[in-house]
């Protein structure tokens, strides 16, 4: 893992030093970004307890660190969710109002050189979907002001480690070579994730790169999950059969000699 990483970093460093075959004419003077990830798939196995991926990158034709901002965003697949608010009814806490959201990601992690509000104006951040406050659902089903419900959804995911914003967490190996460690906890959803790296200068995006990351279950976990959804009847029967078999075995094993 570590060796792969070093090799990858060297490759990126090499790419920066070598003259780019595409770089010609006016574009040659512009700052550009090259990035990669330590692994392009995460396999959820039976002992999966979460893992870290490393996003690394290099800046070509760097123009100094002043006024420069780097943001790494890892965004999971969108997931419909329902947020409910409990109210006290006759002394008991009951779910009353609800809001349904579509277009909020199941996972969102942000690493940046400094708090994003200092890197770019709110309008720009919202346009690129950068930062937890810029997460806006595409569809809302609610009879009430959805804002407190949206805040609650963000809070909920932050508590379970699925949403995080981590300014100042980008390590610089040199002035132009950087990396960010992204934790992927155990509760992640399967699907396609996107790793986005943005280079800001003076509050504007100068260069950006997006790489897909796949999270999928493998082996037995995958087969069991598929079976539970594709053949639920036989899956249920298998559960019952297993329970009866184990019950029978135990009663034979513990049977007292008469």
């Amino acid at each position: 893992m570590k060796r792969v990483l070093i090799a990858a970093l060297l490759l990126v460093a090499l790419l920066c030093v070598l003259p780019s075959p595409f770089g010609s004419g006016g574009a040659a003077s512009a700052e550009d970004l090259v990035s990669g990830i330590s692994q392009d798939t995460i396999q959820i196995t039976s002992n999966y307890t979460g893992t870290d991926i490393v996003v690394f990158g290099a800046i070509e034709r760097a123009q100094g660190t002043a006024g420069r901002g780097i943001v790494v965003v890892v965004r999971g697949p969108d997931e419909p969710m329902t947020v409910r608010r409990r109210d006290r009814v006759a002394g008991v806490w009951v779910n009353r109002d609800a809001a349904r959201f579509e277009g909020l990601p199941a996972y969102y992690y942000l690493a940046s050189t400094e708090p994003v509000a200092r890197i770019a104006p709110a309008e720009t951040l919202r346009r690129y979907g950068i930062g937890l406050q810029a997460l806006t659902p595409s569809a809302v089903g609610s009879h009430h002001d959805p804002e407190p419900f949206r805040q609650a959804a963000i809070r909920y995911h932050q508590r379970s480690g699925l949403y995080a914003e981590n300014p100042g967490s980008i390590d610089f190996l040199s002035e132009t070579l950087f990396r960010a460690r992204v934790p992927v906890p155990a509760g992640v959803t399967r699907g396609q994730y996107n790793v986005e790296v943005y280079l800001f200068r003076g509050g504007e995006v100068v260069s950006a790169q997006s790489t897909p990351l796949f999270v999928d279950a493998t082996g037995l976990e995958r087969r069991l999950f598929n079976m539970a959804h594709d053949a639920p009847f036989f899956y249920g029967l298998a559960c019952v059969f297993m329970a009866m078999l184990l019950g029978w075995i135990s009663s034979v094993l513990f049977r007292r000699p008469a």
Binding site: R85, W93, N95, A228, G236, V240
Partner: protein, 305 residues
């Protein structure tokens, strides 16, 4: 020590879950109950979604009832006719319960219904058991024997559709067993329990079945109801986690056998008193969760119901 649960989609400490299965199995073996009423709340407490907890606990109950039923079967202490009649009501009750479960889940009131049903059931049964066992203990000390078999069967005898239950030495209407079966089937789907703590008193006090066949017959009924409910929960709610079920069951069957041996050393009244306290404690804990201010009044569920 962490293991990924494919349906619950989360990692859990498998040692903890086997220990939980063993502990609940021990208590269920000792008290002669399925243990679902303890298992479901405890699973929810460890962070497993309540839909998965309710649906998966059923397998634990199937397994521990299976090993108990086999022991009773060897003693020929099962009234299969009675179990069959009760199951007739049980199947309909189960279908109704699973339908209600899905409806409540869509409405977002699942957790509330589960908790409320638990508080009401555990509270009332705990109080009845506590009073009864205290009275028996007191009577025991003062040397008076309390007659269990009261003769007054009144309204039960007046019902039509009578049928002979040879093993139970009864000639009664099929309506009460069918109604009891229905109620237990519905509760099984909503609460993830086998319903032993309802069936057993109902068989003794309402149907007046002889005590020696009550245990075996109720266990057969519980196996059938939990098996049907497991399949229904798997097909309609996709809420059964087979890995979680395996962990709970493997701990549970061992614990149940140890519990039976431990229970043989205690007197019946003492056991019932202990069980009553346990039932009341779980009920009180759930009641507190209903009325205490939650840490966050907002809650989130994935997917659009």
């Amino acid at each position: 020590m962490e293991l990924y649960l494919p349906v619950a989609e989360m990692s859990v400490n498998w040692l903890l879950l086997i220990a939980l299965g063993t502990g609940v199995g021990f208590l269920s073996g000792m008290f002669g109950v399925g243990g679902g009423f303890l298992m479901t709340p405890l699973l929810v407490f460890t962070g497993i979604p309540s839909t998965v907890a309710v649906a998966t606990t059923l397998s634990h109950v199937t397994a521990s009832s299976m090993s108990g039923a086999l022991a009773q079967w060897r003693k020929r202490a099962i009234d299969f006719t009675m179990a069959g009649v009760m199951l007739g009501g049980g199947v309909v009750g189960t279908l109704f319960g699973v339908w209600l479960f899905a409806l409540m889940r869509r409405q977002g009131q699942m957790d509330l219904i589960v908790a409320l049903t638990y508080v009401i059931m555990l509270g009332s049964i705990g109080i009845i058991m506590l009073r009864e066992s205290l009275a028996t203990l007191k009577a025991y000390r003062s040397g008076v024997t309390v007659s269990r078999r009261l003769v007054n069967r009144g309204w039960i005898q007046a019902l039509p559709f009578k049928m002979r239950f040879r093993q139970s030495r009864l000639y009664i209407s099929v309506i009460p067993p069918i109604v009891i079966g229905f109620v237990v089937g519905a509760l099984s789907a909503i609460m993830g329990i086998g319903g032993g703590f309802i069936i057993v008193p109902a068989m003794i006090y309402i149907l007046r079945m002889p005590t020696n066949v009550v245990m075996g017959t109720s266990l057969v009924q519980i196996i059938a109801v939990t098996a049907i409910t497991t399949v229904l929960q798997a097909t309609s709610n996709y809420a059964v986690d087979i890995v979680l079920a395996f962990l709970l069951v493997s701990g549970g069957v061992v614990g149940a056998q140890l519990g039976v041996q431990a229970g043989a050393k205690l007197r019946g009244e003492q056991l019932r008193l202990l069980l009553a306290c346990l039932v009341l404690a779980v009920g009180a804990g759930l009641f507190y969760q209903l009325v205490a201010r939650p840490t966050d009044v907002y809650s989130l569920s994935e997917g659009v119901p």
